[in-house]
């Protein structure tokens, strides 16, 4: 139990000292997670909208598949992308294995199902009266869709935040695709795994505390922005 307290002390030490290794690892963690989230959002919000606003045969099945993919183990996504990006795999010539770029690809694939599914859920939560009112006020189809999306923005933001959280704190993809290479693909989660297996529990705990703190700061920032939206 005193490892937790020792870890907390070490975390504060590392932050105050701006330890260069920790700063580098943290910046990389953030950069990769944010990039993955942004790309995934660009892809999944329209996709979620498309699926929600159209009725087609097999829509129920598609939504079911998306929801099933929420539980994709990170190591499995890691393994699949590894097979794709390996030199002896189909995309081997791109040389993306063991690079941050490869990690972004893997994490984007990992969080896409959650973000798509929650976008659909968010849009489903908007009452029909909103669409009806918009249409009766003379909105075009596009304007109506936009209005509905604005109504659902809180829930959609939650979807994006969840995707970001998952990307930031996952180990499977980061380890398999990134390889935890010092100075190049080492991120907070893989560093935690390494330090734990090396027995440096204190340092490992400190990194964990830093990771959670980052999450907290991001959430606070986003809430601030949300606050401004809700005038």
């Amino acid at each position: 139990m005193d490892e937790i307290a020792a870890g907390l002390v070490k975390a504060i030490e590392l932050i105050l000292a701006l330890d260069p290794t920790v700063v580098e690892i943290t910046a990389r963690s953030l950069a990769i997670a944010v990039t993955s989230t942004v790309i995934a959002a660009i892809l999944t919000v329209p996709l979620g909208g498309l699926i929600h606003f159209h009725n087609f045969k097999g829509k129920r099945a598609v939504v079911n598949i998306i929801q099933t993919l929420y539980s994709l183990p990170t190591v499995t996504v890691g393994l699949l992308v590894f097979l794709l990006l390996s030199r002896s795999g189909p995309l081997g010539s791109l040389g993306l294995l063991f690079t941050p770029g490869g990690m972004v690809i893997g994490q984007t694939i990992l969080i896409a199902p959650i973000m798509t599914g929650l976008t659909i859920a968010a849009l489903s939560g908007v009452g029909h009266s909103v669409r009806d009112s918009a249409v009766s006020l003379g909105a075009t189809k596009v304007q109506a869709i936009f209005t509905i999306m604005m109504e659902a923005r809180a829930a959609m933001l939650a979807a994006v935040l969840l995707g970001f959280g998952r990307a930031l704190s996952e180990v499977g993809v980061a380890m398999m695709i990134g390889g935890n290479i010092r100075g190049y693909t080492r991120v907070l989660t893989t560093a935690i795994a390494l330090e734990t297996s090396r027995g440096d529990i204190e340092f490992s705990m400190a990194l964990g505390i830093i990771l959670v703190s980052i999450s907290l700061i991001v959430n606070l920032l986003v809430n601030r922005v949300q606050g401004n939206w809700w005038v």
């Binding site: 944010v34 063991f98 690079t99 010092r182 601030r224």
Partner: protein, 317 residues
């Protein structure tokens, strides 16, 4: 209204900065067009951080970007077989020979060694002190079957070099590994993890396990386990370096792999290996292969000798 736009623009700016940081990190590697050396190694070697130190020195010597990935010996070799590494540093002579025979590896060079030891609880419930390694394993099994609550053996269970040695020990004791490892037997525990976590598990269960001296030294202060079997010729653990052959992967960086091996076996490299660990825990974690070739059973060309200038071009011929 203004506040809202300010908030959004701030967030967008931060996002843009972070995205460019992510891509910049990628560019840095490509900008100077530095040569790249990809090393695949085992956790038992990597976790001691010996390689980090050697990397720093080597990167300065050759102005190259060295990228090291570690895992169990199984995946370390697998990565090289798939062409994702230029050089492997592992410790399983049987699989190393197979790697070379199948055309993936160029040659084998022993550069360091340490020992495996059997560690266990101080009161040694199975009474193995003083035996040779295989006898000890057999005794642990017999005692464990009789009394699984008192005597347990924790295996790496992960196809690592250490796991491979464990299987050989069972073999040498005249036992069939498949029979030993079946799940009917609660005395035999398969951790499926790296050496460190396996040691911690063994500590919790007050059992026995096979471990390398370097990892044990690193974890010593967290454990109440003690080394019980330390000296047995069969417990020598030899680390070897094998470049990936250009015959298998023409684009492999064989020349730089050769340079790294030559550094490992040079006087400076062997000196570094001989001293590594003395500062942190008071005694060296590894022994250099230099001068110990007979002891470690590493013969002639393979033992701590630099590779020839044309080693790589010969292979692709």
């Amino acid at each position: 209204m203004k506040g809202r736009y300010l908030g959004i623009s701030c967030l967008a700016l931060i996002l843009a900065l972070l995205c460019s940081a992510a891509t910049a990190a990628d560019d840095e590697a490509g900008e100077g067009q530095k040569e790249l050396l990809r090393i695949s190694t085992t956790t038992s070697l990597y976790d001691t951080l010996l390689l980090d130190e050697m990397e720093d020195i080597f990167e300065e010597m050759y102005d190259v970007d060295v990228r090291t990935v570690s895992g169990g010996t199984g995946i370390a070799i697998e990565r090289a077989e798939k062409g994702d590494a230029d050089l492997i540093l592992v410790h399983d002579v049987v699989r190393e020979r197979k790697f070379i025979e199948e055309g993936y590896g160029l040659s084998r060079t022993c550069f360091a060694y340490n020992y495996f030891i059997i560690v266990g609880p101080e009161d040694d419930p199975a009474g193995i002190a003083g035996m040779n390694a295989s006898e000890a394993m057999k005794t642990i099994m017999e005692q464990g079957i009789e009394n699984p609550d008192l005597v347990k053996f924790v295996s790496r269970g992960d196809d690592s070099g250490t796991h491979a040695r464990e299987k050989l020990l069972w073999d040498r004791a005249g036992l069939d590994y498949e029979e030993v490892a079946t799940s009917d037997h609660p005395w035999y525990v398969e951790a499926g993890q790296g050496m460190g976590p396996t040691l911690l598990m063994t500590n919790e269960m007050e059992g026995y396990t096979l471990c390398d001296t370097s990892t044990f030294a690193a974890f010593r202060s967290d454990l109440s386990l003690v080394p019980l079997i330390e000296s047995d010729d069969f417990l020598i653990n030899v680390y070897a370096a094998i470049p990936v052959s250009p015959a298998a992967y023409p684009n492999t960086n064989c020349e730089m792999a050769r340079n790294f091996i030559n550094y490992l076996v040079s006087d400076e490299g062997q000196d570094l290996i001989a001293e590594y660990g003395t500062e942190t825990i008071g005694k060296p974690l590894f022994n250099p292969a230099r001068g110990n070739c007979d002891l470690i059973g590493c013969s002639g060309d393979e033992c701590a000798l630099p590779l020839a200038e044309d080693a790589c071009s010969q292979a692709s011929a």
